[in-house]
């Protein structure tokens, strides 16, 4: 645990160093690339709460990621076109202000997580995996068949949404906004994990029958974890739309759910910064191997197999072992 905290401090230091490096090297591309890592890391941190700490193997977190992305895209689209979103039962116009968009994303993601959670948490094991996957796929096909917002082609928003008094089109500024959300997601996760609620949901992962026998309502515990998890992932989806200034049904696809799960597994299940490290590793592989072959994910698959067979607790545990050895 002490070594993990030491590693986490280094990761944080490295993240704060990136904008300086980008500025010195005059390579804003690296800032944008790390912004992508941070956003995907936030999505993974969301999933890690449910999967890593509570044992809920959700294969449908793309639903929340995509919802956050589409809510951001749709609000922005209407703001840019000066069109009303709807006029009944109340009048609602779009917005390109992040301070308006984020609360709406948080509320809608929490609501969707609640609906999916209430229905899917009645099942366990493979049925839970399949039902979460089914929900995400339903949203995916709904997005494809919704021509108002680009259908299969997706929705471009041309301008990144605004934040008071700063220029969000500046890569460093947007990076700092995303870094803020990352730190908040880590802070919330850490607080939850160390709370009595965290004790309850971590116990559910290990022995649900025992937790029930001491009078704890495990369904409510799992539902609340699932809602918090989905909400964090939804917020990541919102930032992802702003990063790309584009959202398409691919963010709702099962492949996206799989990728978020890969971040968690690669970095280390039930580790605070694990999904961020996993996302970084994923993007580095994509950027390096992707130069040589389109099918770079073949190598990702190989690495995953080796990791699951030999280093189950993720990339972070490799550093831990090395540090322990050096001590």
């Amino acid at each position: 645990m002490i070594i993990e905290k030491f590693l986490n401090k280094w990761i944080l230091f490295f993240l704060l160093l990136i904008p300086i490096l980008g500025f010195v090297l005059e390579e804003p591309y690296y800032i944008t690339l790390t912004t992508k890592v941070i956003i995907l890391g936030i999505a993974g941190i969301g999933l890690n709460l449910a999967l890593g700490y509570c044992g809920l193997i959700s294969f449908g977190h793309a639903a929340f990621f995509g919802l956050g992305g589409y809510v951001t895209g749709i609000l922005s689209f209407h703001a840019l076109n000066s069109e009303l979103m709807f006029s009944w039962p109340f009048i609602a116009s779009g917005s390109s202000n992040m301070l308006v968009i984020w609360p709406i994303v948080i509320i809608t993601s929490a609501l969707l997580s609640f609906i999916i959670g209430v229905l899917s948490l009645r099942t366990t094991g493979v049925y839970f995996i399949m039902i979460t996957l089914a929900f995400a796929q339903m949203l995916y096909f709904f997005a494809i068949s919704w021509p108002n917002y680009g259908g299969e082609d997706g929705l471009s928003i041309y301008m990144r949404n605004s934040f008071p008094m700063v220029n969000t089109m500046d890569p460093t500024t947007f990076y700092m906004i995303c870094l803020f959300w990352l730190l908040l997601a880590v802070f919330i996760s850490a607080k939850l994990i160390n709370s009595s609620f965290g004790m309850a949901f971590q116990a559910v992962k290990q022995n649900e029958e025992r937790v029930k026998s001491v009078g704890i309502e495990t369904f409510k515990v799992k539902l609340l974890v699932f809602i918090i998890s989905g909400t964090i992932t939804g917020l990541a989806g919102s930032l992802y739309t702003d990063l790309n200034r584009f959202v398409s049904p691919s963010v709702l696809n099962w492949q996206m759910s799989g990728e978020i799960m890969v971040f968690v597994i690669l970095g280390g299940i039930a580790r605070l910064y694990g999904p961020l490290v996993g996302a970084a590793f994923f993007i580095v592989l994509e950027q390096t191997l992707g130069v040589y072959t389109e099918n770079w994910q073949f190598w990702l698959g190989l690495i995953l197999i080796l990791e699951i067979l030999y280093v189950r607790s993720g990339i972070l545990s490799l550093f831990e072992k090395k540090l322990k050895y050096e001590k």
Binding site: K191, N194, S195, S196, F197, M199, N207, R210, S213, V214
Partner: protein
């Protein structure tokens, strides 16, 4: 009726044609340890599962402290005061001994949904948990991971988890299985102490412990209660000697 805290009437459970429990009627008085003995497969553990609500019964009723709890879920029954131990130790393996006890204290202290306050800073929970660890003689191992505890210590921790709930009744399923002599003596003394607050329905194969502890004993065979009485009455009962105790006792 007034001196009965737990009253089970005609409780039955069948799997197909096989009757695991067959119209079992049994009660538990205040200040009492009521032992339930019988051969393996007689239906003792199934009866415990039916009382806690993890196995649904086919017919019958369960009254706890004059309240009909027959239709309550297992969690609701735990909340209103039924606390159990499992036949095979069922603890949270990656938690320390003290964290296992704290988990058991959460619901009673309304802290399960406390989202952001660190549990490590909750002195009240820690003090209560330490008190229970002292009672089960595990205070020296409070920070040891439950998965690293010996079998005997896990049995003690099981009982500690039940104690932490401060229930109306305890249902102990072979709490002394695998304990050494000092562990068994510790349990016997502990049970004698706690029964005045929360009576105990005890399943146990260690007959010396049963005869040292029980105020009443019921014998179950093929899912039916075949005899109920004091220790002496049960010792003298021909049928009981036939089905379970043997003639050498």
């Amino acid at each position: 009726m007034k001196n009965k805290i737990l009253n089970i009437k005609s409780l039955s459970k069948s799997y197909g044609a096989f009757k695991v429990t067959d119209e079992i009627t049994i009660d538990l008085h205040f200040d009492e340890i009521h032992a339930l003995i019988g051969p393996n497969g007689a239906g003792k553990s199934t009866l415990i599962k039916q009382i806690v609500g993890s196995v649904k019964h086919d017919i019958g009723s369960i009254i706890l402290d004059q309240e009909d709890i027959t239709d309550l879920t297992d969690i609701e029954r735990a909340k209103i005061g039924i606390s159990r131990t499992f036949q095979v130790s069922s603890i949270i393996p990656q938690f320390s001994a003290i964290d296992n006890i704290i988990l058991s204290l959460l619901d009673k202290s309304n802290k399960t949904f406390q989202l952001f306050k660190s549990v490590k800073n909750n002195k009240e929970l820690y003090l209560n948990a330490k008190k229970i660890l002292r009672e089960i003689e595990l205070q020296e191992k409070s920070d040891v991971s439950a998965s690293d505890l010996s079998h005997g210590d896990r049995r003690k921790l099981e009982v500690g988890l039940a104690l932490a709930m401060d229930p109306k009744v305890f249902l102990f399923d072979e709490p002394m299985a695998g304990l050494d002599e000092s562990g068994t003596n510790m349990m016997i003394n502990l049970f004698k102490k706690i029964k005045s607050n929360s009576p105990i329905l005890l399943i146990e194969h260690d007959m010396d412990a049963v005869f040292a502890l029980a105020d009443r004993v019921s014998v179950i065979n093929y899912g039916k209660i075949v005899a109920t009485g004091t220790v002496d009455e049960i010792r003298q009962n021909e049928l009981v000697r036939d089905v379970y105790l043997g003639y050498e006792i």
